[in-house]
Symmetry: C2
């Protein structure tokens, strides 16, 4: 009977030292050969830990098996027995080993430490390594935890569009999408590109946020969320920027800024707990080899109460701090990485910073009665920096229109968004979380290129 390695690990008592034969199918991660024995470090991707397969010279094709290379795919029939080796409960005593697919000796993934830079170039093979097996499994489980959290609370999952003609979102630079022949771009009488000849009959790009469309759905379903790809055409080559990444954008009607902080805190704790529970082997590995103390960091988060404080109070604390800042903290201005770090250390835990100066925040945020700030909130998490950004949305038609005028924003293509305030608008709030930022925090891996299966960055679009 064909079994997954996962099943053997989870129900080992049912197999160990019985007469049951099992058949496994997977790959050779390492192969140690002795004169009369062989040991294969075997994995099949269904479980983080591998299985030691032991064979001896009584097996029929002993000489052939000894030639099987690292990376080859094999089928193994055998019995699960108590292992005499240290550190493992069982091993598989093989009665049959069949080569399914060979692998040459120049296979790039050898049983040794490869640099992450090297493995990035082998993106199609790197999930076969321990590190990336762990990272991309965490990615999958965290994605599911997010869906589970929202679905179990009756949120409606909305697929907001990726093609957009909206220019006014202002969240970042956009990629253009076209089917025009770049060798023969059509021009109109005014010598401008004639987008009426393009696929959509207008200028279209790839979205930088699904929030605006999510708001429309929140005003129909009360609670919604998006979870999909987002794009940025910024030419930044940093550890935290990618051109294509995934975002989660919940949006809730009849919810104010405090309500959205409640949701952010509860959701983050839920997802972290879910990953710790469902990726325990992966997390142990990441804790041991990538970020010492990773699990303790995450468990502390789950048990902490998040602080809520205004931007003004934060600046006061920063100004009073006995620290020589690289960037001087100022009322009315954004805060720097060093400030974020100080504040989370000051409160020894996650901090919601709310009520930001309106001039450094987006046009759609609710204007507070002080005339200076907006009901925006950033969540700062120790070891992660800003993990989520949210706000109450301006629900007043007149205030929203006035703010857009102040910012010299055109309402073209956004009339519908403004109209949401006219047609039964209400208090509503939402937030955005970059999925990869969460993964960096969860895995301890510090480069966004290593938490995306096939990352896209300026100058890089392989596979």
């Amino acid at each position: 009977m064909i079994k997954d390695v996962k099943e053997i690990y989870e129900k080992v008592e049912e197999f160990i030292d019985t007469d049951k034969e099992v058949k496994l199918q997977g790959w050779i991660r390492n192969h140690r050969k002795q004169k009369e024995f062989g040991f294969i470090d075997f994995f099949d991707g269904t479980y983080f830990k591998s299985v030691q397969v032991v064979y001896d010279n009584k097996i029929k094709n002993f000489d052939d098996i000894q030639k099987y290379h690292v990376g080859s795919s094999i089928s193994v029939v055998g019995k699960v027995i108590k292992s005499p080796a240290k550190g493992q409960l069982f091993e598989l005593s093989a009665s049959e080993i069949v080569l399914e697919g060979d692998c040459p000796e120049d296979y790039p993934i050898q049983p040794k430490r490869h640099t992450r830079e090297f493995l990035r170039e082998q993106a199609y093979l790197r999930p076969r390594t321990n590190l990336f097996q762990a990272v991309f499994k965490v990615r999958s489980i965290a994605a599911y935890a997010i869906h589970k959290y929202f679905q179990e609370r009756n949120y409606v999952y909305v697929h907001t569009p990726l093609f957009t003609a909206n220019d006014g979102e202002g969240a970042g630079e956009m990629f253009q999408v076209t089917t025009m022949d770049l060798k023969n771009i059509p021009f109109n009488k005014e010598k401008q590109v004639d987008f009426s000849k393009d696929f959509f009959g207008k200028k279209v790009g790839l979205t930088v946020t699904g929030q605006l469309e999510a708001e429309a759905f929140a005003l129909a379903y009360k609670k919604v969320y998006t979870f999909g790809p987002t794009f940025r055409a910024e030419n930044s080559n940093t550890k935290v920027h990618a051109s294509e990444f995934w975002m989660i954008e919940p949006e809730i009607a009849f919810c104010d800024l405090d309500g959205v902080m409640d949701i952010e805190e509860e959701m983050l704790k839920y997802v972290v707990s879910y990953v710790l529970e469902h990726c325990s082997e992966e997390m142990k590995f990441l804790d041991q080899f990538v970020e010492k103390g990773l699990i303790a960091k995450l468990e502390k988060l789950i048990n902490s109460k998040f602080t809520r404080i205004t931007h003004e109070e934060v600046i006061k604390i920063l100004k009073e701090a006995d620290v020589k800042w690289e960037f001087t903290p100022e009322y009315g201005e954004d805060i720097a990485k060093e400030h974020e770090k100080y504040i989370t250390e000051y409160f020894d835990g996650p901090v919601f910073i709310k009520d930001w100066p309106k001039d450094i925040k987006a046009f759609y945020m609710k204007q507070n009665s002080d005339g200076k700030t907006v009901a925006a909130v950033d969540l700062e998490v120790p070891g992660a920096g800003e993990l989520m950004g949210g706000s109450q949305r301006e629900e007043s038609y007149d205030k929203l229109v006035k703010r857009m005028q102040e910012l010299n924003m055109s309402d073209e293509g956004l009339e519908w968004y403004i109209n949401l305030r006219k047609f039964g608008g209400c208090t509503h709030s939402g937030f955005g979380m970059g999925f990869e930022r969460l993964l960096i925090y969860l895995t301890g891996v510090d480069n966004i290129r290593d938490v995306i299966p096939f990352p896209r960055t300026p100058g890089n679009c392989e596979y």
Copy 2:
């Protein structure tokens, strides 16, 4: 205490005819006014059914309330009482009704039948109608069911990239992505567009499938699936084509064609059952107003055994049928819609058609030993047509390379894909399902524009 309408419906015994006051927040779908009474058809998006809110002239702002328009958002405080009206168990007797957000009389969504064409133009408001409340809730629940099915079976969810430089997938026309100034496209010495000056340093488009990258991950995790957006730049204006849509693409190592059919059948039945269970009110509505017999159709699917038959056998049946075909069925050729329909009626249920002529199928499909066919399978479902397409993938390096040469395909950018056959390759299979095609089947709504929140089609990119 603030409650969702969903909670009232699900725990009505806890509220009905008690002293408990509840507070609801939502929108006026309809408002009937009498001299001393008023009846508000109230919904909040958390449950498909609305609540009848009753108020009388003892309420303090009676005259104001009578002026509240359809579409306005309100808060209502009141008690749940047995309803004297037919067809509803309870109603809400209001002690307080507060206007949260007004709505003018020219609000496009009035309590009458609007055409779907009209509502399509009001895409940001249409989820407030019964029809689209139902459709987009089914969309959300079906999406979750798909994740649940695969996650509970230990599949790894992979986010395959949307930007791709692969040209050779051949599944459809691609959108180009660029950050170059279209007014000043750079050319090289050969007078070709100089893509080295573009964002990624090469020509890049939007993917038409995540399958190839999913294969790489299947050979590391055994079982994986993708669920993400896909694009087609085809200029087709039909009821079933959109430029941006979502696809599910599972990929399984050590799985042959029969194995993949098992998975397709089990998954489809799971998702259909899940939607019937978790969207019962929505499905009743769709059954009544969109497709008579919808629920019976779906229940029949769940209880049917799917037929498995070769393409050759299908052609034989079609040729022997006493039918005057518009398109004559031929061995070696594709089958037409009329043939699909006949075959599912012939077997009175879903039919897997397998072993297709290789010349009408993709390069990566496993070549059968007859030299003529490939191990491909299409699932034909009564009332849906082709719902999924899958295949065993060619695992032989030599056969794959030879097939690509026969088809004059360049291996540029696909070397890694071919290499998967060299580095521990194995029998593996997968399939693709267009999510919107499933939704058309599940909801009975026959136009893809009506199952996508903000659809994109040639000439259409609103919102």
